[in-house]
Symmetry: C2
Subunit: 341 residues, 2 copies
Amino acid sequence: MNAGSKPPARRSRRAKTVTLREVAADAGVSIAAVSRAFTPGARIADETRDLVFRTAERLGYRPSRLARSLSRTRSDLVALLVGDMATSSFDRLFVDAVLDMAARLGRHTLVFKVAGEAAIGAAFDMAQDYRAAGVIVAAGTMTEALSRRFEAVDIPLVLAGRAANGGQALSIVSDNRNGAAAATRHVIATGARRLVYVGRRQRVFCDGERLEGVAKAMAEAGLPPPSVWRADENADVVGQLRAHLTAAPTPDALICFNDRLAIAALEAAASLGIDVPGRLRITGYDDIPEASWESFRLTTVPQPIDRAIAPIEAFLSGRPPGPGPDRVVRIPAPLLIRRTA
Amino acid sequence: MNAGSKPPARRSRRAKTVTLREVAADAGVSIAAVSRAFTPGARIADETRDLVFRTAERLGYRPSRLARSLSRTRSDLVALLVGDMATSSFDRLFVDAVLDMAARLGRHTLVFKVAGEAAIGAAFDMAQDYRAAGVIVAAGTMTEALSRRFEAVDIPLVLAGRAANGGQALSIVSDNRNGAAAATRHVIATGARRLVYVGRRQRVFCDGERLEGVAKAMAEAGLPPPSVWRADENADVVGQLRAHLTAAPTPDALICFNDRLAIAALEAAASLGIDVPGRLRITGYDDIPEASWESFRLTTVPQPIDRAIAPIEAFLSGRPPGPGPDRVVRIPAPLLIRRTA
DNA sequence: CTGTTAGCGCTTTCAG
DNA sequence: CTGAAAGCGCTAACAG
């Protein structure tokens, strides 16, 4: 069986991969020329490029992304680590926006669903194994230690929803304290005194900051620190909040960690016949699409995705992500007043 | 500058890539041995494998996914082509489920957001360029012609939400006609006579089938074909439906293409003071999480994602996706009766 | 079971 | 501007 004399039996008559070499041979140029033709900015005569393109077209040639990446020791893949987008409306918006951004940059997105620190670590390793051009972590459970470990690697790292102090990573995070404080001040201004902060059971970075914002605004108004309820963002979140709402002392305002929780609280209140915002004010965070639905018209603190995407896009393009040398971009968080508070 | 004598100036002291060769050299085995150690099922002595693993661990070696894929002429990437998951709750559930499935299979998921035929074609090409192990198309705009073109390529293709007649691709699709017919019969049984089918402006495959189901069930009941309204799934969908609802003759039942539209209809009705289900019955399709929210309690036709994922997982693992030789898996679509009809 | 040896398909100096 | 040649890091026969 010498490979030179008889053609190898192809398993199917279709899908024979056309390579650089064949195009080069057919066009009568070197393989380097073909490579250059497909490399933006490479020094090559226009005629040669045209010839190569025509030949490639005719032969059905497409450069192998794999080979190119191996050779360049860097792929055009971007890894996106995200939590559970089935339950989080915000995450899905973020994923959607990242997908668009990556496409604009000519990158392709590898999405990893991660839950817990171990999974984040594994996904990061995988991103490295693919020689990813960047990693974007949108998972709330990202820890400081983990982010430190990642920085030992030569891949641009973006942390969404968490501020990492120091290091090379870019952090994009809402101005959580001020956002939550704004909501708090607003409900206090409308007469609320017994405020409750409603957070998720799983405490993420943003949760802590928002709670601080609430506490700060309450202190400024001469009120004691808020009570805190915790609920899972699952199917029974309404039930959990209903249980809370029926226990005395009843609050007159619920500052919720996010819109999902706020909507659940709204439904719990409705089922209990509690008037919102008359007897109970409710605010959310994020401004997911559902928040503006007629049935809810939630007062909330928007997290404009575009504002977060822009610096990430710049960072991944090698441009400075923000005005200063700062690695932490804070997105302003003004309150959006609708019906519920 | 001869490369042999002095070590190359590394740009940073971190992130020097450790390769197979270094592990082999350090462990005193051949590179093939190292490769085998990391290849499940390869013939290699346990001791050798252990030695390799220890050395790899110590040196911080991780196999390059890129090199492996290039060598195998097949990557462990799965491409997922999806529409706009920012606006479609169902799509996001599907993406989420596919991500889990791919992880179970040890594959990694490349997500492409596609809108329109051209984008689908481009994404498919890219999947090919990455030598993807499979392509899953969840975009409604997938056309028959396009799917034909894809079949000329040697990549397992899955079409979600569309039945492709013939060919090698696997189609997973809800039993749209029966699902819509069941909803239709139900509202007729509760007294509805002036039914309207509410679809999206962009007519996808499923839309056509559901409309047929509605028409069929109406014909069986001796009713004329349904009126058809079309609305975009955008922010103003409630406004669009409200406009429709205020024009005579007013319907007494809305069979909606999906839950998003049904919820919008519900809100439009509420804002118009129309009693649901008393004066107007409304049904949806999909059973997205929002459908079961207290505020809506939508009567709908569930699309159980798991039932769709199972055959896809089998197909991508090389197992037969269904009981028969059939390439089209129909997911049963029984009606789930809640409040709105 | 293990090592040797060709590649996988493309990029990138380095000469010319 | 163009071509030759040496890799990028790993896999897969093929001998042994």
